[in-house]
């Protein structure tokens, strides 16, 4: 069975570097790359009645936007390099969801870019990289 690498991709510079890095490893090892984009979402956040009413509609819009502006260009940029590419678009807590995706797809590695927040910033707001390192079910590569 060929290896699967899940790349957490949010369209940023750092994510780009992670994707490129993962592509290099995948080429070398004959692995499949899974571009995973997670829309930050908590089922426990508070919404106004109007937001409730429009949620289903907004969700569709958000998924469409993510698909066209993030997933599709990312996939297009790495296709034709001899590496099979899959995509995943999910809602949830970013680190938790990446772990779930990795587990479900039986991936062997997770790659993410690092945004390089200050230590204070990550203390206060938490960092995806920090969470992922603590909880990932498979080896995890943080690309600077």
């Amino acid at each position: 069975m060929n290896d699967k690498f899940v790349v957490g991709f949010d369209g940023s510079e750092a994510a780009r570097r992670a994707l490129d890095f993962a592509m290099d490893r995948a080429t070398a090892q004959g692995a499949t790359v899974v571009i995973a984009h997670v829309l930050e979402w908590s089922p426990y956040s508070f919404l106004t009645p109007t937001e409730l009413e429009e949620r289903h509609m907004r969700r569709k819009e958000e998924l469409n936007r993510a698909e066209t502006s993030i997933i599709t260009p990312a996939k297009a940029s790495v296709e034709g390099k001899g590496v099979p590419v899959e995509t995943v678009l999910r809602y949830g807590h970013i680190a938790d969801t990446l772990c779930e995706v990795a587990e479900k797809m039986e991936a062997t590695q997770i790659f993410i870019g690092r945004n390089g927040h200050s230590r204070f910033g990550s203390r206060v707001f938490g960092s995806v990289a920090g969470n992922l390192v603590q909880t990932a079910p498979v080896p995890c590569t943080i690309v600077p």
Binding site: W41, P43, L47, P49, L52, E53, R55, G92
Partner: protein
């Protein structure tokens, strides 16, 4: 800004200028608004609250209690049987991960709660205990427990018969289940009931969902800042509400939505601390509650007075049977409408059984209600309409005094809480009113704008009028919704029964599985 909004801003500015120009006669404005208001609404209040002939028992209170009892028995005490399952649903144990990003059970519950947890829990309870004595608390808790079944029934139907529009937005509530549900069962009159409900819902949103809130927010402000005319508070509030609901400034609303739960936690937390500090008195307080529930302990109206106040304030606070929550709950994403019914039954529990009881206990334990030492019964005020209180306070003032007797800083926190609760309740009710309005007049920007401007004008009226006429009208309008809604529920409850039986069978057989373990 489009032209409509511009026009609305102009109209609102003109109104504000008019009110401001008249500021020189500040005292008389409040008085005049008050006079016109009570003159215009008196007949409606009388009709809703008329007692059974020869008694002092309002028929509307009996209507709510009977309904809650009927639903409780008809669904076999569903509020107790399904309670653990309700909590599992809210936690998301049964939510399909593929539905992430849709409205969760928790979110629907939280939004519905922010519309109901509010002044009813702070001011309403104080009114109930102030008039009906500690015994009112017993009836309030009972009404809260029974009301869970009413809420369950209406919210299940709210989801089942909601309208899902092509663009993906949803509209639900009693007006939809009354029309569609009646049609489905081949019963006549659903349309008429839906129209009546919508009219009362608009009145309720202007009354309890708006004027009562503005009024109590003003009282809370004067309690902290000293006396100033009500229309000032009204204008400021109307301005902010206008920006949010017409201007679409969501940030204010979302900030409130986040701060309100925090205030609720602070409120309940402080109440708990006061109760723990007076732990030795809790037994005595419950003694007063039970004794008062069946004897009245000398309060105005005796036992019946305590019962009426308890039931009235519970219904006003948790809105079970009123139909408003069905509007908020109907946006949830679920394949089984009944699950939202299960979730919604937690609402009266949190609102009434937990939060209202906290308020009542604090008022009783801090001994704000004056007891005649010679007889051991409560002393009445000079007019004989309510129990004499330590600082001659009533409504939100009584709650502030009770909490303030332990923590002197609390009245300031409470004032902030009252203002935020009032604001979030107004935002919720402006939505309920708007849904009823668009049901009657159709969807459309201009039509919606008309309602929103009317809503803002009523904020000013509410803040200016004195408590009496406002609270009466608020109650009357909200209870009028319950008249229509409950009548409809009686005809539609077999549908809910079918749903609940089928769901519980499948849950038992393991066909409905948990996604989380």
């Amino acid at each position: 800004m489009n032209r409509l909004t511009q026009r609305a801003v102009l109209a609102a500015t003109a109104f504000l200028l008019f009110a401001g120009a008249a500021a020189a006669q500040e005292q008389t404005i409040d008085d005049r608004i008050n006079e016109i208001f009570s003159g215009a609404t008196g007949w409606f209040v009388t009709l809703i609250f008329s007692p059974f002939p020869g008694t002092s028992f309002p028929w509307i209170v009996a209507w709510l209690v009977i309904a809650a009892t009927v639903f409780t028995i008809y669904f076999g005490f569903i509020q107790f049987r399904a309670f653990p399952h309700s909590i599992a649903l809210v936690k998301g144990d049964y939510s399909d991960p593929n539905d992430a990003g849709e409205v969760s059970h928790f979110q629907a519950l939280a939004t519905a709660l922010s519309g109901t947890v509010g002044l009813g829990n702070i001011a309403g309870v104080a009114v109930a205990v102030g008039i009906g004595g500690p015994g009112a608390t017993f009836w309030m808790i009972l009404a809260g427990l029974m009301g869970m079944a009413s809420k369950f029934t209406e919210c299940t139907l709210g989801v089942k018969y909601r309208n899902e529009f092509e663009d993906g937005h949803v509209s639900g509530g009693p007006m939809y289940y009354l029309t569609k549900g009646f049609a489905e069962r081949g019963l006549p009159g659903g349309g008429i009931l839906a129209v009546l409900f919508s009219i009362f819902c608009i009145l309720g949103s202007l009354g309890g969902g708006n004027m009562f809130q503005a009024n109590q927010a003003h009282q809370a402000l004067t309690g902290v800042l000293g006396d100033f005319p009500g229309f000032v508070t009204g204008l400021i509030f109307a301005g902010i509400v206008f920006i949010v609901i017409v201007g679409g400034l969501k940030s204010i609303a979302s900030v409130t939505e986040k701060v309100v739960p925090l205030m609720a936690v602070i409120y309940v937390g402080t109440a708990l601390i006061i109760l723990i500090m007076n732990a030795d008195m809790i037994g005595w307080a419950f003694g007063q509650i039970f004794a008062g529930a069946f004897t009245g302990l000398g309060v105005a109206g005796g036992m019946v007075g305590a019962l009426i106040q308890g039931f009235k304030r519970a219904a006003f606070s948790n809105e079970a049977g009123v139909g408003s929550a069905a509007i908020a709950h109907s946006a949830v994403r679920t394949k089984e409408p009944i699950t939202e019914g299960f979730v919604s039954l937690l609402e009266p529990f949190i609102d009434t059984v937990v939060i209202c009881t906290m308020t009542a206990l604090v008022i009783i334990i801090t001994q704000q209600l004056m007891i005649d030492e010679a007889t051991g019964t409560y002393m009445l005020n000079e007019a004989g309409t309510a129990i004499k209180t330590v600082g001659d306070t009533s409504g939100v003032g009584l709650t502030a005094a009770a909490f303030g007797s332990t923590f002197s800083w609390f009245p300031t926190i409470l004032a902030i809480a009252v203002i935020l609760f009032a604001f979030s309740t107004m935002i919720s009710w402006s939505y309920y009113g708007l849904k009823a309005w668009t049901f009657l007049f159709g969807e459309g920007k201009t039509k919606e704008l008309v309602f929103k401007v009317i809503f803002c004008i009523f904020v000013v009226i509410g803040a200016s009028a004195s408590l009496g006429p406002v609270i009466d009208f608020s109650d009357a309008a909200i209870f009028a919704m319950a008249v229509v809604n409950i009548l409809g529920l009686y005809f539609l409850m077999p549908i809910v029964k079918r749903e609940v039986n089928s769901y519980l069978d499948r849950l038992k057989s393991g066909e409905i599985k948990k996604f989380k373990h």
